[in-house]
Point group: C2
Chain length 202, copies 2
DNA sequence: GGACTGACAGATTTCACTATCTGTCAGTCC
DNA sequence: GGACTGACAGATAGTGAAATCTGTCAGTCC
């Protein structure tokens, strides 16, 4: 008899099975086979197949969050930090999609399966944006009376460069120019923004 | 024998068949049946099923372009015109998606089928944006050294509010707030924008 | 006695088979 | 003689029986 079966070992095996067979073909039986146990044992640790896949997704998103944690470098302006953060997010997504399209598609399916997870994931990243904008407001580099709403607006305005629905556009040779133009427009806006409710356009 | 079969009559019948059966079920035989002719006759006017559907799509997009033509009202600032135009586009799309989801889905499938058409459609709308921004530059309300690139940036930054991939989010009760926040941010940026290449963030 | 197995019922997926559809064209009909 | 038909071949989609999968649980094995 080998070591006792752990949830951790099941998650690792499930990731491997998903990587090899893809989300449509990966079965609980496959996972059990990879671990050399019966599939009944897997159900001892995860109540349903959905719960198992959700756990894998959560694990993967946690790693994404950690990688995106912004560095508050003293030598950088908030605008520079914001541009670097958005570029990093874009580069990571683009690289993942271009270099490993199947794995990207697999995790896209997993993320879409869960209702609550994507929302939490986005809130986390928008929170990171809010911290950068907040730093800019403190140095009077940016103007806004609602940091969170503005962070959400920056997130929404850059949707094309992080939302997986637009992934196919990321191969376009001019996509970096489009990204730069949008980010420049946003940064210009942050220097001179008013809240939506107080906004008189004239 | 009825009137001679015209391309126009075939297009009208095809629209009706698409509306009733949806894009997956609508066949050339159905169209011919609706017109009381054999399906061979339809092929006399359109070389392939794809060409027929493309003609229907082109017809529909032309109507969309016409409806979005901006009004250069003397009493409005460029910012007001821009906000009105973007709101109109958003309202039209949202209304279409919420009120007639099946028809919206049908035309979404049709648009995706053709390679060249969507590109032309977007260029047309970005051109309308460019004219509004150009008007703002002339009155020194907006600052930019590349009107077309900036128009494209405004289009990209508002993707979430016109790209059909985001249609499901348009039912969110807070979507109008998100829209207002993004548009305010963009308009603030247009007042103080620099080109991507000349942009020093510090 | 608690981790694990394997047989099982119901749900889902697969696959071979059949229907229908697309596109062609020789022939018909004013 | 030109618009139209309808039978046809190859391609595509629908269908239903068989195989597989999910989730359960009584029983096995240290």
């Amino acid at each position: 008899m080998a070591e006792a079966l752990t949830s951790e070992a099941i998650l690792v095996a499930t990731e491997e099975v998903l990587r090899r067979y893809g989300p449509a073909k990966a079965t609980v039986v496959d996972v059990a086979k990879a671990l050399g146990v019966s599939h009944g044992s897997v159900y001892r640790h995860f109540a349903t197949k959905a719960a198992l896949r959700e756990a894998v997704t959560r694990r993967w998103l946690d790693a994404q969050h950690a990688a995106m944690e912004p560095a508050f470098d003293q030598g950088l302006t908030a605008a520079e930090m914001l541009r670097i953060w958005l570029q990093k997010l874009f580069d990571r997504k683009k690289h993942s999609h271009v270099e490993e399209p199947e794995l990207f598609a697999t995790y896209l399916v997993l993320v879409r399966e869960s209702r609550a997870i994507p929302e939490f994931h986005i809130e986390h990243l928008v929170g990171q944006l809010a911290r950068i904008i907040s730093a800019g407001v403190e140095t009077h580099e940016f103007v806004t009376d609602d940091v969170n709403a503005t962070a959400q607006a920056v997130w929404d305005a850059t949707d094309r460069f992080h939302h997986p629905a637009h992934a196919q556009e990321w191969g376009d040779p001019h996509i970096q120019d489009a990204f730069d133009a949008v980010v420049s427009l946003i940064i210009a806006g942050l220097r001179y923004n008013r809240s939506p409710s107080a906004a008189g356009d004239a």
